[in-house]
């Protein structure tokens, strides 16, 4: 079962290859890349292409590895014991499975996305190691062991902010989504704006990549910002000639004040700003 992207997700050859390798070897696939390069969408595309259910775990900075497996809702149980009805002694009523737990317990194979794993504590990935290897975990409170019938396809996305522990990296297949080049970007844009005229698209891409290459930009515009910008241009009825002279709706591409100032400095005909004094 080869992964080749879907109608709405353009995958590079290297990425498709990495997905195939991860699925064949049964290893989690670790994806890193600049924000806005389609890491989260990849999991959706893989689930679509392989026709499997997708379970998502959006990791927060306060997340604990245990929460992905299951949570024992003690507060609810305490509350029920004082005010509720039903058999409070049956602990299994208060065990709620997390996304990874649900994937293991599922009767069919699933795709699990662990999104932005680097947001959590540095020790978080290590806490998942054993479960990812053995594909099973114990629910201590009830004494039940949940084992995965079918090994789920685990996709882990990371924003390249924090370093991940070595023992965790060892178990993963790694892929870095490089920023798409002009040709790939043209295909991606065409998926979102199918009717876009070729010349205008080429001009938009030229301006976009010029902007990305400006020196000293704090936050470079990403793929999703480009798509939004083109929507704005189409809505505003901007023509190719206007685009050549100026950069309308720059606020859709640049989100920092220093970057906007930098842009203005570069496009002002008065020349570069006076050198700063220390």
């Amino acid at each position: 079962m080869g992964f080749r992207g879907t109608a709405s997700y353009i995958a590079s050859k290297e990425l498709s290859h990495a997905v195939d390798v991860a699925v064949a070897l049964g290893r989690p696939l670790l994806i890193r890349g600049e924000p806005g390069t389609g890491k989260t969408l990849l999991a959706k595309a893989v689930a679509e292409a392989l026709d499997l259910e997708l379970l998502v775990w959006h990791v927060k900075s306060t997340a604990k590895a245990q929460e992905g497996l299951y949570v024992y809702d003690t507060v609810q149980r305490l509350n029920d014991s004082r005010f509720g009805e039903g058999d409070v002694r049956d602990i299994s009523r208060y065990i709620k499975l997390g996304p990874l737990g649900k994937a293991f317990a599922a009767p069919r194979r699933t795709v699990v996305l662990i999104d932005e794993i680097d947001k959590a504590d540095p020790e978080f990935p290590n806490d998942l190691l054993h479960e990812l290897d053995a594909m099973s975990f114990d629910i201590v409170e009830t004494g039940v062991t949940v084992t995965a019938r079918e090994r789920p396809v685990v996709i882990i996305s990371s924003n390249a902010e924090k370093e991940l522990p070595d023992a965790f990296l060892r178990r993963c297949v790694f892929h870095f989504i490089a920023f798409p080049d002009q040709q790939q970007m043209a295909e991606i844009v065409r998926v979102h704006h199918p009717g876009l005229e070729g010349e205008l698209l080429a001009q938009c891409l030229r301006r976009f990549y010029w902007l990305r290459d400006l020196p000293e930009l704090r936050k470079r515009p990403s793929t999703s910002e480009l798509v939004d910008w083109i929507s704005a241009l189409l809505h505003g009825g901007i023509s190719r000639e206007q685009l050549e002279k100026e950069l309308p709706f720059a606020g859709v591409l640049l989100k920092r004040e220093t970057d906007m100032l930098q842009l203005r400095r570069t496009t002002t005909p008065g020349g570069p700003a006076a050198p700063r004094r220390w």
Binding site: E14, H17, V21, A24, L25, E161, R170, R171
Partner: protein
Amino acid sequence: MFIDFFHYLRRRGLPVGVHEWLDLTSALGQGLAGESLAGFYELCRCLLVKREAHFDLFDQCFAEHFHGVEAPPALTDDLLNWLAKTPPPPNWSAEDLARLRSLDLEELRRRFAERLQEQKEQHDGGSHWIGTGGTSPFGHSGAHPSGIRVGGDSQRRSAVQVASERRFRPLRGDQVLDSRQFSLALRRLRLLERTGGELELDIEASIAATAKNCGDVELCWRPPRRNTVKLLLLMDIGGSMTPHALLCEQLFTAAKSLRHFKAMEVYFFHNCVYDELVRAGDQHATVSTLEVLNSVDATWHLMVVGDALMNPYELTHAGGRIDFYSHNAEPGLVWLKRIRERLPRGVWLNPESPEAWDATSVRMVRQVFREMYPLTVDGLTAAIASLGH
């Protein structure tokens, strides 16, 4: 398999372990490399390299180790599209087939390369060009007794060529200059303690207390964890630091924008620390160094950023200071030692690369500040690690 390559990668500093190697072998056994050097390159990269900062190094190693490996001639997408169609039904006579002669491998390779150069359109059923269903030795579904089968993964450029392009050089951790990366490295400088401030709910203690109370809910409180690191940042803004102004500015911005430290003070100096420092943010406010030192104590962390390049007598002589109008009563080294004694938890960050640290003044400074690190993200991380974080 490929044990030499494995050891070569390890020698060059890539952290490849036995587990990754076993994965690679098992993947090769399952045919996941495709039948091309490019496929093998991609497979190796996704199984052996786990950080994009190592991509460039891996590319270099791959290009060097597999240099000169004869990759099959490049097949274009057009050619593969022509070959994707089903062949026409065969209509050869027995004599035609008898006339076909087996070619040896060298001859085949040579002719194949020629055809690839010359072929401009689709051909089927023929005997000369690359196509389907014919008697030519190149293509598929034909009747030639020997030949080269073409059809499969496209391969626009050879893997060795791709690897030697070094597309990932900007991602190396030893060369990146970005204030956000400095911010992230600086965030590692933390010493979390529970002292003072508003209290937060202590869940474990509350549960234990409630249980002791037979179920009557009782809440317990404790102070939250806070970073207790106090940082004193001293930056050299002398003439020789002008080429490094951008880098220093990024570090300065990163440190300033982080509200991560309990306290942070930034001061500037010229070439070496003397009796006066300039407070950051207020260009003309000079402060006496002794005052600054009195306001800090041994619990503060110190970071000095400078290239330590100066005339050695600035360090050794009273009045050696380069600034004509100020006369320093004590030589620079005395001041540096004073600072060091006051703030034992200190590091010196040097924007010059370590090759330039042979200069006399740098060596003298290093005798006082033994922990000198380059001003890169890796260097900053190592410096923070040396402070015990």
